[in-house]
């Protein structure tokens, strides 16, 4: 349906256009790879993270609950990811002894630092919740978790007013070198479903799922939920921990806000 009078001019223009489009597409693809390697571009793209946190917090509220599921939906095997069998000498020693010598410390910007044995933690009032675990990779699994509410422990230790983040220290080294760690802000740490789970599906936490104690932060993706816990520290900032981005995976490019 092209008009005849300008057909020839159009044909050469079309060729030019086609070539430009192909060239732009090729440049575009290579360009996107190049852009992805630029710190500045990553920084700009990261701006969306702050917006996500604010808007999602506003929509969900500080205490909005993650969905909980009936027992019939529990997955018989809860798929583990990341470290599944920590090899650090300290962990293996503690595990060999059934974690009888393991203690969880809670310190940093608190009035009264705590140090609790596994038996003491198991004796604390606990919350049991059947929740869905969402891996950043895209899959989900449902499990039943039991353990004390983190907010209760924080209240018992007394959080100082300068504290802004709760840092979780772990005993596993996913790359064989750096210890896993994670952090939550106080809103997520004090959320009623944020617990320190010592049991999965009614049994002591299996090694693959983070024995003896792991974090459950049900409105976050899986990488936030630190396993193999050894200590919890209240801090005002996390610039001097690891590479300063608030977690093992955050130090490797993943966003600190993991609610989406």
């Amino acid at each position: 349906m092209m008009r005849r009078d300008s057909g020839r001019r159009d044909a050469s223009r079309r060729r030019f256009l086609q070539r430009s489009a192909l060239g732009a597409a090729a440049l575009g693809l290579a360009g996107c790879d190049r852009l992805s390697q630029s710190e500045q571009v990553a920084g700009t793209l990261n701006l969306a993270q702050r917006l996500n946190l604010r808007v999602q917090r506003f929509l969900a509220g500080e205490r909005g609950l993650a969905p909980e599921y009936p027992a019939s939906m529990i997955d018989p095997v809860f798929r583990p990811n990341g470290s599944t069998d920590p090899q650090s000498g300290r962990y293996r020693e503690l595990a060999a002894n059934g974690f009888a010598d393991w203690r969880l410390t809670l310190d940093g910007l608190v009035e009264t630092p705590l140090s609790l044995s596994l038996d003491e933690i198991r004796a604390l009032p606990a919350r049991t919740q059947i929740t869905r675990h969402d891996c950043v990779e895209g899959w989900s699994a449902i499990g039943q978790w039991t353990g004390p509410v983190l907010g209760d422990l924080l209240a018992r230790a007394g959080v100082k007013s300068q504290a802004r983040y709760v840092v979780f220290h772990c005993m596993d080294q996913l790359n064989g070198k750096d210890f896993y760690y994670e952090s939550l802000d106080l809103v997520e740490a004090r959320h009623p479903q944020t617990i320190l789970a010592h049991s999965l599906n009614g049994a002591p936490l299996p090694t693959a799922n983070g024995a003896p104690l792991r974090l459950r932060a049900e409105r976050q993706l899986g990488y936030k939920m630190a396993k193999y816990l050894s200590g919890i520290t209240l801090v005002s900032h996390f610039d001097d921990i690891g590479d300063g981005r608030g977690g093992y995976w955050e130090d490797r490019g993943y966003t600190w806000y993991a609610g989406i």
Partner: protein, 293 residues
């Protein structure tokens, strides 16, 4: 904007066939959707399998891209769709990335970045999601307020009734005249994209967010759980790719240069009576109701 179409010089002043907001959104949206699609495939590649329900039943995905070692030692890429398994070596499951064959869902040329880099794919996806949703919301508002939706996109009674014949005409590659308004099938596909597919992409995307699930658990239930939402997100994205391909085919079949120029410059001005001057009607007159009214 100066118009190089000589025929329009004599045409009476009127609204452009494609008003500026339509053109701006059209090209901005193309850019957003390409980035969203390619970064989305990057994210999908982190776990190239889809399920129905809340959780992933790993032994029962309805779609999976993976690689196997054939009896002769070769690695083959495979795609399992329900009970069917296809050999898709080179494209799906196993393909070359950076000159090296590797196990990956979608091939390097379709993902952003081209190499496996989930965290970067997420950064692109979630940044452009805001641009895409913002521009889309503005456009829907414009379409409602300016009358674009009612005047140009909504089907007339006759068009609703004539959809069957429209479909047959399209299948025979017989299209309606280039001037005047969109035909019924065309309007239906634009409405479907604007009011169904694009909003569905946003909502199913949000339903994969655990914090958003806490904000609107009912929405998650509506889609049948997080893995269902992920599947629907993927299926609607595939439908949008199909729309894109048909859209390009239609442009190529109906005067690509004129169409492209129209979407860039706005095209000829349209008057309120049917513009019959320079058209070569491809359908018999009498039932040609594709004017701009």
């Amino acid at each position: 904007m100066p118009d190089s179409l000589p025929t329009t010089a004599s045409a009476p002043r009127g609204r452009r066939r494609h008003p500026l907001p339509v053109r701006l959104w059209h090209w901005f949206n193309l850019w957003c959707l390409v980035v969203m699609l390619m970064s989305g495939l990057q994210i999908f590649n982190a776990h190239p399998a889809l399920y129905w329900g809340s959780a992933s039943h790993f032994d029962d995905p309805w779609l999976e891209l993976y690689a196997i070692r054939a009896p002769n030692g070769d690695i083959r890429g495979q795609t399992a769709l329900g009970p069917w398994v296809f050999d898709t070596t080179g494209v799906l499951g196993y393909s070359a990335a950076n000159g090296r064959e590797s196990v990956r869902g979608f091939p390097a040329w379709s993902t952003l970045p081209s190499y496996q880099y989930l965290s970067m794919g997420r950064l692109w996806h979630f940044f452009f999601a805001w641009l895409f949703a913002g521009a889309g919301a503005l456009f829907v508002l414009y379409a409602l307020l300016s009358g674009h939706l009612r005047r140009d996109l909504w089907l007339s009674g006759a068009q609703w009734r004539g959809l069957g014949r429209d479909l047959l005409d399209h299948l025979r590659l017989r299209f309606h005249g280039p001037h005047g308004g969109y035909n019924g099938l065309q309007k239906l596909s634009y409405l479907g994209v604007l009011l169904v597919a694009l909003p569905l992409m946003i909502v199913t995307g949000l339903c994969m967010s655990p914090t958003f699930n806490a904000a609107a658990p009912w929405l998650l239930e509506l889609f049948g759980g997080r893995q269902s939402a992920r599947s629907i997100h993927f299926i609607v994205a595939a439908a949008l790719v199909l729309f894109f391909l048909i859209h390009i085919a239609m442009v190529l079949l109906s005067g690509p240069w004129r169409q492209l120029k129209g979407m860039l410059t706005g095209g000829p001005r349209v008057t309120e009576e049917p513009a019959a001057t320079s058209t070569t009607p491809t359908t018999r007159s009498g039932r040609d109701q594709h004017d701009a009214s």
